[in-house]
Every structure is written in structure tokens, then in C-alpha cells.
Amino acid sequence: MMMMLSATRRMLGAACLGLAALVPLADARAQSQPLKLTLDRGVVEPLPISVLDFFGQGGVADPLGPQLAAVIEADLASTNVFRNVPDAAIAPMVPSFSAPPRFNDVRTLSNAAALVTGEIGSTPDGRFALRFRLWDVVAQQQIAGFQYTGDRAAWRRMAHRASDAIYERLTGEAGYFETRIVFVDERGPKNERVKRLAVMDYDGENLEYLTGGSSLVLTPRFSPRSQEVTYISYRDGLPRVYLLDIESRRQEILGRFPGMTFAPRFSPDGTRVLMSLSRAGNTDVYDMDLRTRQVTRLTSNSAIDTAPSYSPDGRRIVFESDRGGSQQLYVMSANGGDAKRISFDSGRYATPVWSPRGDLIAFTKMSGGRFGIGIMDPDGGGERILTDSFLDESPTWAPNGRRLMFFRETQGERGNPQLYSIDIRGGRETRVKTPGPASDPAWGPVMR
């Protein structure tokens, strides 16, 4: 018998090299760490993850199956901390959604550390349902499992919600995939630009136009709480601030002041809109309560004070001002009053935006004839420039406070703006898909 054993071993050992690692499986599992990426410390080695095509209902292939997987893969890959592992070899090791994958084989055939399986189904009352499970391949257990129900037409949103859940489980950080972006679509030559407001999923899908282009529209800003936008339009002959509800398309003017109003921005609770009012050539910061429409003046001097942004706790406001002789960033109490300068490097600073986490302020910096997007602590320390070009401008925060979107305009007669996004922890900026030139992006809240 022993002879047979060794003979067998010799024959088979050659065929299946590397399987010795499988032997101490029990011990390895007992000692394995929960699968988690730590993002805020140093360079992150991307986690290999495989997302299988979703099973169709009753085992019948559904065209949405691979599409759902593709959306989730793209979401995770866009973060640069995940690396997609092709699923062709792995798929046969997962015969159905209801059974655990054959982890040993998955580990043999790939280096995926995490696996996503899913299925399309329906609820007992016939509604479309999407289910997925997130597996830890090494520990051989399910980490998370969710079911979403609703319209089949909302499959993209469900896929994005799944990506958020996966991202959160594996990084401990909130995702940003179930979000929409409002921006300004630009067409035509530089001296005759037609600008329209547009809204789309953060990945460029499901785009719709919100205005027709007959009036100049600028600087849309998303409410942090709802699918509402504030922006400025020249339809009244001069810049005025408007409120637009994306779902109903209802619009309201926010004040007909004796002077132009612009640079609007919502407060963190969505009940107030900061804005600048220009009278007799002088621009100051005002705050409007949306419920009462009462306006409070927050700065009062002959300098240009504009582009205000609330801190997420609603206690302070950062804005840009040239009261010191050049465009710089200042922080004041939400009641106005003394403002403290926080930008100090040589150059001009503008468009400050307070992160939803409260720990950083993003801005546009102009220096040496170049424009770049940067971040700094709310007291001005830790300044870090993330991008640099002929013209990078107008950062907007993802709701998780770790990603920025901005626009970059090229120079010359044929210069055009495009949207880009970048993780504040580094890496290259990546282009955000839009149908044409685009500027003034505004990142909306996670949709729940």
C-alpha cells in the first residue's frame, strides 16, 4: 500500500504542483485576517477581486448578467485600489449563486482575494431583484450579501449600490458610486459658447440636459441632501441664482436683488444657500435661508469676497477674498465677522470647497502662469498640490471626502474643457466621460 501511495504521489505530484499549499488549509483559515484594505497609510497594493457575471433567473442567462458585473468592475477599478481579475477561469468554479464557490479551485486558478457573485431574480410579488454576495477567497466565507428590489430599469443604480457595499466592506470607507454629477455642457467656439446644465451618473451614464442653452448658465452646485441644484443663469439679463429640482424640473429664482448674484453653494443641511452679491461694483458674501428667503450679509468691505463654502458642521465658512491685495483663502464664522487668512504660499488661491469630512479644503491655485487643484488643512497647513496644467479649476468633493472632480481647459482657439477626477491620496487624474466639452462639475450626494 505504501508503495502505491508513493507511486501515486510521484505521478500526481508532477501534475499538480503547487497544491501542497492547500494542505494546511484548516490552519491557514484559522489564522487569516479579515480581508481589508487600509487606505490611509502609504501606498496601497491593489486588491485582486473578481466579479462574476450575474446569474440569470432560474439559471437562464440574462443579458444584464455581464453588464452588472461590468459596472461593478468599473466602479471598483476606478478607485485604483482594486484590480480586476478576469473571471473566465473562475466562473466554472461557481456553479450557482446559492452555493459557496469552490475556493480551493479559485485559489488555484487565480490570485483573486475577493470574489463577487450575483444573481438576477424576482421577489415573490414579481418585482425585479438583484442579489449579490461578496466572498473572502482565502478565509472561504461570505463577507456580505445584499438584495435590492425595484425597477429593472434601475439596474445601474443597483449595481452602483452593490459597488458601494463592496467597497465599504473591503476598505472601511464609504463608496461614491451611487452618485450623480451636475455639470455645464459646452458647445461652440470659445467666443460663442452655448452652455447647458446636464446631470449624469458619476460614470457618465444616464445623461440628461436640464436647460436648453438659450441662456448662459454657470457654476451649478448640488445639494448635499437631495437631488436639487443651485446655479446661476443670465436669463433675466444679469446673473441670478436659481434652485432647480432635478426630479420635477421645477425651478425657482432665489431673489431678484438690485445687483448680480452668483457663486451659490448649499449649506451642509441643504436649508441655506450662500451666494455673492455684487452692488456698485462691490462683491460680498450673503447667506439665504431657503425656507424664509431671508438674506443675511456676511462680509462687508470693498474687496471682492466670493466663492464661499460651509464647513460640514455648519459653523464656519471658507471663501476667497482679495482684501489683502490678492486672491487668497479666508475662514470666518458662519455668522460673518473676522476672517482669518489660511493660504500663504506665493500665488493666488480661489474656489475653496470644504470636504464633507471636514478635514480638508480643496481649492484652485494659480502660480507661475499655471493652474492646479490642491488641498490643505482648514488652518492652512499641509498644502498639497494634486494637479497642474494650463487651466485646472473648480474642484468638487465626492461624498466620501476622498475624491475630487474638477475641469481642465486646454489653451488656444480650440481650447476645450473636460472633466477629470482624482483620489486625494495620489495617482493620476482620470478623465470623466461626457458627450462633449464640460466644466463646472458638482458631485451630488449618495442616493438612498
Binding site: L19, V23, A26, F103, Q147, M260, T283, A350, E393
Partner: protein, 334 residues
Amino acid sequence: MRPTPLRSLALVVAAALVLSGCASRKDPTADSMTTATGLGTFGAPSGAGTGAGISDVGAGAGPAFDPVVVGGGAGVGTGTGSGFGSGDAYGTTGTLGGIDGSTLGTLGQNGTGTGTYANQGSYGANNGLVDGGIISAAPQYTDGTVYTDSTVYSDGTVYDDGSSAFDSTIQPYDSTLFDDSGSVANNGSQYTTFDNQGGGSALGGYSFPGDNGQPSYFATQVGSRILFQTDSVILSDGARETLRRQAAWLQLHPEHNVILEGHADERGTREYNLALGARRADAARAYMSSLGVVTSRLRTVSYGKERPLSTGSDPSDWAKNRRVDTALANGASF
């Protein structure tokens, strides 16, 4: 955790088994191979462990997972254990069958294990899943109709924050920007003529031959554009001269009001450039007001960097874009 001797043996045996299993999976058409021993399952406490079935992970009372049965002493095993249950993946008890068997069974590709995917296990059809909510498509995804922005709801509220910013008198602009005293040659009344026959008009030292009172004449013959230095709102000598001509012409044509449009070049951010354009427009307005043009005839607006004249990105292009354009608004009330 130190493996017990029994466990070590089990592990070694498992290794051999898995190795053999691997070989057979990779080449299903290969001749069946004999193997040394039939091995029992890693049964859980409740595992039957009665023969030669083995599954990838043992344990619990959950569903089986496609057990691969290796022939054993007693023939084909029945693999009744297994799947993911709540116990250890690898059961700690279970009998190893067949080790003493004297006959060797065949290595089968698929066992006849009777494990099924249970609906009650944690990986059953809907179990182990958290409800992530109901997601409706309809409100967010419309048919893509372009919204015609003609419906504007004005709330009609009067805005009064109590500060002096909203009083009706417009404060004059900071006079330090003006190098001269702002007086014009036509201080007081001078003769004014307006010859409707195409002969022209004149006011206080300014003459406008062929003046027909039209916007085109204003733009081409009077001068409707003044330029600025980078980041500056200071009116140059040339700018002031142009504004004096404009003021004189406007005195001759009381039917016209003007909109002073302030602009900035592209080397600045959007909001600041709107404010800078407003400052420039207001500088022109204040100067013309000081020349005697009634303020109600002067309106200002800023286009920031949105309406460049010159689309290139050279300093000469930028210089042309830093400007205030004076547009006639015939009879418009402000």
C-alpha cells in the same frame, strides 16, 4: 494549533487525495487511476464519515458541495457530510474509512454524494442577504427631454436684510481710482446740436459727424470699448477719453440708455472674474456718472471670462478681452 497525530495523517492523506482529485479534474478523459486508499470524509460531529466520500470542506449539517468521491475500501462512498455549516469547515471528528481496506476502489470523477443545496443553509436562495432597499428607476431617469427654461417661479419676496446695502442710493465707486477730477470740458451747458440730416452732432468739444443716432454709429464712430491691465480696474487715459465721448453722445441722445458690460480674461477663476468684470463695469459707470450722465441711464453687468472677444491664449488675446463694452439699450428701463 498543533495537529494531532490523527489529524496530521488526515492532512497528509487529504493532500494526496486532493492531488489526485486535482489530476482527475484537469483531465476528465484520463483513464481512471487507482489510488491507494479510500478516505473517509472529514465529518463534522454529525458527519457520517462512513466511507470514501470527501468534500472540499466538511462539516455541519449544511448542504453538500459536489463531493468528489474517491474510491475506497468499501467501494464508492456516499459522501453524506458537508458543505458550509456553522461548524468548522473541517470537522475534527469523523472516521477515516477504508484505510484498512484491502480492495481498492476506482477513482471516480463524480461521487454519488447525496448532498443537495439546502434552502435553509446560510447560502440558500435568499438567506444571508441583507435587504438593500427598493430602488425605483422612474424619477431619476426620464426620457431625456430637453428642459426649456422658460418656467421660472419668482417668489416675489422683498429682500431686506436691514443693512445699508439695499438702500436706493447707489454709492459712488472708490474715487481714488480716478486720476483726474472727473470734470469734463462741457461743465455746465454748452451748445448742443443734432443735425438730423446726417450732418452730425456735437457736444462740448466732441463732434460726431454723420451721427445718425444708431447703435451701429455708436459702436463704430463713438467708441464702445475700453481696455484694462491684468487684474486692474483702473481707467487709463484712453479709456477715459472713450468714456467722455460716450457720455457726450449720450447727452445728445437721451432716448438711449446703456448697459456697461464688464469682462475679464481667461487667466482667472470663474467667480472672481465675474466680480472683476463687475468692478470694471462699475468703474466706467461711476466715471460716466461723474460726467453728468444720469445714473438711471447706466446699467452694469459682468460676463466674467464667459464672452472673450479673442479666442487665442496669448497675452495679446487676453489684453483684448479685459474690457468694458458699452451696449445701447434703446429706451429700455432699468
